[in-house]
């Protein structure tokens, strides 16, 4: 994890680009679902 952190700190824009790419994937996943994600422990 430290190595990833070191790399990320040296290349913050790369980390941002990765985050944006994951954000696009997440948006597509959520748009493709008929209902919002259900959190099981919310029912307790």
């Amino acid at each position: 994890m430290n190595k990833i952190d070191d790399f990320g700190r040296r290349h913050p824009r790369l980390a941002l680009a990765l985050t944006m790419a994951v954000a696009v994937v997440v948006t597509l996943i959520l748009l493709g679902q008929s209902q919002a994600p259900v959190v099981l422990y919310r029912a307790f």
């Binding site: 952190d5 997440v26 996943i29 959520l30």
Partner: protein
């Protein structure tokens, strides 16, 4: 609005951007309070629920202040009895079916169980003088914080106060910010894609097993579906709940609140006691601090000579209560009972090793590699077995086990 929905993420992005521009602590607190109030607004359905929520929280605050000034075990117990009775009614526990009027009250409060945990913690800590500088404004923000409101983690008031005293975004710099958002987004993937996939596969396997079980299936037909059920639900629970925790811990950090971690590689635990310090660990610590330890103290003070043997009973009581907290049906009591058995067995095995081989051997024993691997495998399967009693009413949970047992008979 639910945590992990698209609108939640969009509003979180907007709120965190605005929050970083707010200049003073007082305004940042007001900003977070408005966000929490807005979130709560989407969850509370009617006026009766608002009134019940206000009574629940305000009474807790008032009694905590009283206990701080005049520590009294009698007052604490009297209030706890009333609080728990109110909790049972508001959560509509099934045994209250004898009083249909109680079950028909149109009150719904999301996150009430977690509020109960926080309330009991503040009451006990106030009485013990450990919760200081308790103000109504701070307490309401602590109880109704949007990130811990619906499903934890169970943050301690003292930890909340530390964040509340500064309330500045925790991730600093582009990389830390990206990393925090990445955690939130991965959390959403865990809930919406991975967890949802496991749940879908579990539901299909369950239906198929029930369908097969209606005939006279052989073990070879039943076993694959049972094994699928056995492993899929633990995977679903982990993906779903740890994903939720990733979202709220990351989201809270963006708005200046440091939340405790709730999962630390739980399926690598080497026994049940270890498991509860890794899985939903804030609940595990709560059970230890506010159920097990006080219970054990009481019995140990009565009879110090045999105190150790009482620990087993305390484990059972603590875990059954924790199990029942999960829901109003009897399957959760069974779930708690199984974990009480697991914790007692762990302690019993440890005591046996210390008595027969000495404490230095126990340290050596815990370091043995194959023992560790076996212990992890046993704990994982023990947990997977206990979780068979999680998905619904007892009859539904027992159905796959009944089918397997029937198939085992020649």
């Amino acid at each position: 609005m639910t945590v992990g929905s698209l609108e939640f993420l969009a509003l979180l992005l907007l709120a965190s951007a605005l929050f970083s521009l707010v200049p003073t602590l007082r305004l940042r607190r007001a900003f977070l309070a408005v966000c929490s109030a807005g979130f709560l607004w989407t969850l509370i359905p009617n006026v009766a629920s608002w009134i019940a929520l206000a009574m629940f929280i305000l009474s807790g605050y008032a009694v905590a202040k009283l206990l701080r000034k005049w520590p009294s075990l009698a007052l604490l117990w009297a209030y706890l009895v009333i609080l728990l009775a109110a909790f049972l009614v508001l959560k509509k526990y099934s045994f209250l079916g004898f009083f249909p009027v109680l079950l028909s009250i149109p009150i719904t409060i999301v996150g009430l169980s977690y509020m109960l945990f926080r309330q009991i913690h503040v009451l006990v800590d106030s009485m013990q003088g450990e919760a200081k500088h308790l103000t109504l404004w701070d307490y309401c923000n602590y109880q109704l914080n949007l990130f811990t409101l619906s499903a934890g983690p169970i943050q301690r008031f003292q930890d909340f106060q530390q964040s509340w005293a500064q309330l500045t975004p925790i991730p600093v710099g582009l990389y830390e910010l990206s990393k925090t958002w990445l955690r939130i987004l991965i959390g959403v993937i865990k809930i919406a894609a991975i967890g949802a996939g496991f749940l879908f596969a579990y539901t299909k396997s369950y239906s198929r097993l029930i369908e097969i079980g209606s005939g006279h299936p052989t073990l070879f037909v039943v076993l694959p579906w049972f094994i699928a059920l056995f492993y899929l639900y633990p995977l679903y629970i982990y993906a779903n709940f740890s994903g939720y925790c990733d979202i709220v811990i990351g989201g809270a950090a963006l708005l200046g609140i440091s939340l405790p971690e709730n999962f630390i590689k739980p399926y690598l635990s080497r026994n049940v006691i270890d498991f509860w310090t890794r899985f939903h660990r804030t609940l595990g610590f709560w059970i230890r601090d506010y159920l097990f330890t006080p219970l054990y103290k009481v019995v140990a003070e009565q009879d110090p000579a045999t105190a150790k043997s009482y620990a087993f009973g305390c484990y059972f009581i603590a875990f059954i209560l924790a199990g029942v907290w999960h829901g109003s049906t009897s399957n959760f009591a069974v779930y708690g009972l199984i974990h009480g058995f697991g914790a007692s067995a762990t302690k019993l095995w440890e005591t046996y090793l210390v008595r027969t081989r000495g404490r230095p051997y126990l340290k050596e024993y815990l370091q043995i590699r194959w023992v560790r691997v076996v212990a992890i495998a046993v704990t994982l399967h023990f947990y997977a077995f206990s979780i068979l009693f999680f998905p619904g009413p007892l009859d539904k949970c027992l159905a796959p086990i009944r089918i397997l047992v029937r198939a085992l008979k020649p």
